[in-house]
Structures are given as structure tokens and as C-alpha cells.
């Protein structure tokens, strides 16, 4: 085997060959395989020379050869000089270490390549062998269960109460007073079902516990009554001073 010989293939096929490789390491591995089956016994030096020859041939055809090819070529040129004409002992050692590292990388790449082939040859699920097409699920997930304990309920109450109380210092409770508008709405709603005279108190909202709220409601309902009387929607009467005020639906006199 003459390591210095140019590849005998014509230029076009040389280009095709380079394109077919994944990268410089891929080409190196291919060249190494051609040398020996056992990667432990390849000659790194002749490998380097073959690689450089291929690159040289390719460069003549195509100047825009990718950077990683050129980087590898430069590194291999350096390695070749260390292996062929070492200037001293140190350089010779550097060369030996680098050659060893390259051989290891090639072996590693060869291993994973073979593993890929091995994996590809296995009966692969979904391609060569198939799992159950209609699996059944007998698992039920019960999300209804809540983790609750009285301790955290009480703790939560205290927290809420404390915050609520603290808040009160800054924001006094606003009284929800029965407005005239509220009263007008309520009178409208109730008068239809009360054609007879009825006490004003009966038109007050329920559940008025706060005396202030109750007074406000009486006042609003009275005002609302006056307004509705003016509009002719109801009649009001008071038989004596400070006596009970009574209301009745409908107009006394029909204007409009």
C-alpha cells in the first residue's frame, strides 16, 4: 500500500465522497476501516496522510471546503510532523499522545456506529413488534378526597379574624342605609299586591336590627311615599298628628 498515492477516483466522485461524510472524523473512520478491521491496529500516520491527500484533492476542486475539514487537516498536518520528524523527545511524546487520542476517538465513534446498527436490528416497538392496540385502563383517580383537619380550620379562622379586625382600624364599617331609591323600588313592587290601606312600617325592609338603619329606612320610605303620591302612583294619609301613616296603591285623582 502506498500511503502517498493520490486517490485514484476522478474529481467528481471525490466531491461526492466528501459530501457523503458526516464530518472529518467520519471520513477518518472510513479510511481507518479500509486499513484494518481491528481499530486498535491501524496506522495513524498512514491514516493522516490519506486524509490529507483527500482534502488536498478536494481543495483543488472546491475552494469553499468547510472550516471543520480544514481545521482537522491543519491539526493532522501538525500531528504528522510530530510523528514523522520530531525535533526532540517532548515533541515525540506530544505526537504519541495525540495519535492515541485520535485512535480513541475513532474507536468511540466506531462503537456508537455499531451500537446504532445493533439497535436498528432489534425488533423495535411500533415497527417490528406491536403492543396492545387498545389498552384498557383499570386505574381510577379519585380526586375528591380533601385533606381537612379541624386544626387548620381553626387556624384559618383565627388568621382571617385577626386580619379582618386589623382592617377595621383603618376602614370603619359603612352603614348600608336604605335610600329613597331603594324605597321607591320596594313600594312599587309591593303596592300592586296591597290595594288596601297599609301602615308605612309594613313597607320597610325586613331584618332591620340597627336602630339607626331603621330610622333611615322610615325616613326614606316616607320620602318615597311623598314622591310617588306626587306622581299619582299611590295615596298617603295620616289621621292625626304623630299618628300612623298609611299608604294605598293607585291615584286618588286621575291626572294624566
Amino acid at each position: 500500500m502506498a500511503p502517498d498515492s493520490e486517490p485514484s477516483a476522478p474529481r467528481d466522485s471525490l466531491l461526492l465522497r466528501l459530501d457523503g461524510f458526516e464530518g472529518p472524523l467520519d471520513l477518518l473512520l472510513d479510511l481507518a476501516r479500509a486499513q484494518k478491521v481491528d481499530l486498535a491496529k491501524i496506522s495513524i500516520l498512514s491514516l493522516v496522510e490519506q486524509f490529507l491527500a483527500v482534502i488536498e484533492g478536494a481543495k483543488r476542486v472546491r475552494l469553499e471546503l468547510a472550516a471543520d475539514w480544514l481545521v482537522m487537516a491543519a491539526w493532522l498536518t501538525w500531528l504528522k510532523s510530530r510523528l514523522l520528524l520530531p525535533a526532540d523527545q517532548q515533541e515525540m511524546e506530544d505526537g504519541a499522545i495525540a495519535a492515541e487520542a485520535l485512535a480513541n476517538r475513532l474507536r468511540m465513534l466506531a462503537e456508537v456506529r455499531l451500537l446504532a446498527v445493533w439497535l436498528g436490528a432489534r425488533p423495535t416497538l411500533g415497527q417490528d413488534v406491536f403492543a396492545r392496540g387498545m389498552p384498557e385502563n383499570h386505574t381510577e383517580i379519585d380526586r375528591s378526597r380533601l385533606t381537612l383537619d379541624l386544626g387548620s380550620l381553626v387556624a384559618a379562622y383565627l388568621q382571617a379574624a385577626r386580619r379582618g379586625t386589623a382592617d377595621q382600624l383603618y376602614r370603619p364599617r359603612t352603614l348600608t342605609l336604605w335610600t329613597v331609591q331603594d324605597a321607591v323600588r320596594r313600594l312599587h313592587a309591593m303596592l300592586g299586591s296591597a290595594p288596601d290601606w297599609a301602615m308605612l312600617e309594613q313597607f320597610l325592609p325586613d331584618h332591620l336590627t340597627d336602630p339607626a338603619e331603621r330610622r333611615a329606612a322610615v325616613a326614606s320610605t316616607f320620602m318615597a311615599g311623598l314622591e310617588l303620591t306626587r306622581d299619582g302612583a299611590l295615596q298617603m294619609r295620616q289621621s292625626e298628628a304623630f299618628g300612623p301613616i298609611e299608604l294605598r296603591g293607585g291615584a286618588g285623582t286621575d291626572d294624566e
Partner: protein, 178 residues
Amino acid sequence: MNDVEDDWVRVAEAAIFASAAPVSRRSLGQLLPDEADTDAVVAAVQARYDGRGVELIEAGGGLQFRTAPDMAPRLRRVIQLSRRLPRVAMETLAIVAYHQPLSRSEIEHIRGTALSQQTLEALLEASLIEPKGRRETPGRPVTWGTTSTFLTQFGLKDLRDLPPPADLLLEPPKGGDG
């Protein structure tokens, strides 16, 4: 009666097993050699699985394997995922428990902050609170109270089992002298 070759039974077995939908007798027949009697092959598969943990049934316009009906209860696994109530929900629940019946705005008043619809819905969904009628005040707000589920979940006989708030709040200050 036709002879049934074991290889045909194997193909039928594999095809029905791997198919994502029931396999019709017609498409099964296309996998088998011309001389095979599909019905006889199906009968042979059926016989092979008869009384096993898995059986061949005819459903949805074709053949399919199913685990035997008596297996289902034994294969059933119930995974219980316990959830915790979010803090906001827990506080709301506590307020409802102690002050029921009360309206949403009253809950907000006690907590000192707005109550999200989400929180209310989470409690409703967990059946911990329920509406307890409307209050005859302006707007006739719905009032809320706790449910019997609430009692069960917290292991309470009735609401009187809740520790009184007074007891909780009157915690004696620590660090007194001896």
C-alpha cells in the same frame, strides 16, 4: 370442517392484539391465505382464550381482545389524590362555619378582603358549603352555611363541636412570672 393451521391462528391473534380498533372478519381474512377459513380461525383463537384472563369478543363491528369481565374488579386500582384546600378557601370555610348563615359581603367584611368567585365555587364543589336561603335585605343576598359533608370531613358530630372562638382568642399571654 376446515383444517386450521396454527400459523393462521398466530397471525389472527397478533393482528387483533395490535390493532387500535376492532378488526372485522373481512380485513382479518385479507391477512390470511386464501385457503384459510376465517371463521374457523377466529373460532380457534376464541377457543384458545376461552376461560383465560383475556378473551376474544365481538364488538364494535369487529373482533377485539378484552380482559375477562371477572378480572375488572381485581385489576381496578383507585389512586386517591388528596388535595389541600387553598388558604383562602380554608379561611372562608372557617368564617362560614362560625358565622353561618351569612352572605358573601359579610364573609368579605370579616376577612377584610374581597372573596373570589373561584373560592366560593371550590367550596361548593367540595360540598362543604351550601346556600341557606336569601336574606330579606336590599339585594336579597344568598346566605351560606356548612353542609353535612363539612361535618363528616372534619369529624364533627354537629356544629357545636367546633371550638368556641372565645376560647381560641383568649389565649393567655406567655412569659408570665412563676
